[in-house]
Amino acid sequence: MFSPKRRGRTVSLLIVILAYVILQAMIMSGNLSRLLISLLVPVCAYIVAALGLNLNVGFSGELNLGQAGFMSIGAFTSVILAGILNANGITGIPVLILCILAGAAMAAAVGWLISVPVLKLQGDYLAIVTLAFGQIIMSLINNLYCGIDSKGLHFAFVTNTIELAEGGKMLISGPMGATGVSTVSTFTAGFILVVLTLLIVYNLIDSRSGRAITAARDNRIAAESIGISISRTKTLAFVISSCLGGAAGALYALNYSSFVATKFDFNSSILLLVYVVLGGLGNMSGTIISTAVLVVLPEMLRFLQNYRMLIYAVVLIVIMLVSNNEFLKTKAEQLKKKLSANRKKGAAENV
């Protein structure tokens, strides 16, 4: 469990479990403000999406600027499914589980379709295509109307031509977005999803396919020469990444009674990328912490009033500079060496 190979996974899981226990204790004892409680589920959703993106960007080495698009697919799929389930009298946790599964499956399916043309491209081109994909998804859903009544689902595009029977309900109303969602997401569900995501991600990394992905990233030609199918390994990472994005979207969607498609725009994709880059490419624990900090930070800066977003930007720049400072890096390395040397010395003396 603590072997060097497994250490990353253990650390990540410990961070998440510890955070969960502390936060739950704070909720129980009434020490957590409503503001922070309301942030727990979105933080979990963003962590899952960012972990998925890290798999793609950090581990597989493909720049993806469309992760919010996959969140969007997961979110709106889950809203439609929740509408159907609610109409059939199913509510609560089963809805959440089914919706997350459906959102993940739909996003994975779309991710697979996209990956066919996309993963023939490399570098900048791939980034451009995923960026365009995110925009297309946003535009499509922005023009989608979906309602449900006793006769089943009704869809319309661009103009709302849906006429619902008595007792019918609009699920998605174009630019007005999803409305009247019954919120079922809970912090515990978010926590479980994060843990599952970590298990999936680390299992993939430690598996044969994971090593193939690393090999394909580090040296494409060498990897091909030993019989690794580049497109297959990249597709695997891309599809799992989009699948996690979809699951995150579903969790997010069922936490808000109303949200719009433009929420999942290019900015959101970039924000997810910022979480990943700040946390460290390929570093899952770092991603978890950076996501939590960057989502919560602007809310914690509310007391600054009008200067809030300005200070947030400054803090972001400072964190980026400090975490990439060569001088500090060397110092940290030296400190670490010293510590381990001391430990060895201590161990030797004990013997």
């Binding site: 109303s173 912490i289 009033q305 977003m309 670490k336």
Partner: protein
Amino acid sequence: MKYSNSLKTGLAAVMALSLAACGSSGSGDNGGSSSGTDTAAAIKLGASGPITGDAAVYGLAVQHAAEIAIEEVNALGGTQIELKFEDDQADGEKAVSAYNALMDWGMQISLATVTSGSGQAVAPNYEQDNIFGLTPSGSSTAIIYKDTVNNKDPYGVLFQMCFTDPNQGTASADYLAAHTDLGSKIGIIYRSDDNYSTGIYQTFKAEADKKGLTIVDTETFINSDTDYSVQVKKLADAGADIVFLPIYYQPASQILVEADKQGYTPNFFGCDGMDGILTLDNFDIKLAEGLYMLTPFSADAEDEKTVNFVKKYTEKYGEVPNQFAADAYDCVYAIKQAIDHAGITADMATDDITAAMVKEFTSMTFDGITGSSMTWSASGEVSKAPKAVIIENGVYVGVE
């Protein structure tokens, strides 16, 4: 790997610090509020709107005007009101956070949200916690109705000071039907991915068809577009002599610039989202000359209340207040009128306050600067007369 551990430690430290900062700021706020109110406890009025980001003009206008109104109300000595304004960046997710921050503070009555998108995201929270909200400028029907298809099933605790989007579209079409001298061939540019814009467009079209108006061309754009040359060219080619722009002022300003570049000079007609175009940075306001817009407020009105408000606002913030500001100013006075009449005090439970406020608002008549003899329906819609203004020499002038 080794380095990344130190990064983790650093981030953990930052997180701990930010959490610590939150704790201290929370207690700081409480201290401030108790010292700010001298004898009678002040009623806590919350509000959220964009004071950073793209739509900040609206949020700041509402915040400034509400502060002026509260200062005046508190100076009268009777009912004391304390305002807390939270930033929501016109985003649904942030609006929920802002709402929860306000609830942490102990909000008793609310100005709800400034923008429509935020409003529809938090409306269910208001119903759930049973808090009375009066939005100055959230014009979407989704703020007050759960069923936005048939506009039925209102939340019951949320009221509007401005017109709903459908009403603006209908009123605009009626105005153009009554003033055919502005132009008879109507061209439209609207934003297809925006709730506000499509809402007005749809009812405008329905009413225009009913009134037999001729719409010669309809063009759309989306949020991230920055070039409007194609749309403007098409309208010019179609021979539109009046262009209806049910959009916000930033894209509208670019459309005006583009029309000027192409030498295309129809009459332009907008709704309340056009308000703010005169305060836009780097925009030549000469281009806005002759622009018509439908708004219930014009800063050149000569009644005592408007003159007083415009004077104070201009002195304090160096610009002429727009319609959002006027709506917010009216909101505070409407709330004060209801509080006084119902005898609401700060130590009452929020459920009682909400019940009393709803009862007052559905029965009272209010005279403000955005209209006189305003009344509210039980579903929360306001009833007041729309007015049109034209921009002349850089200021709004009321027209018939």
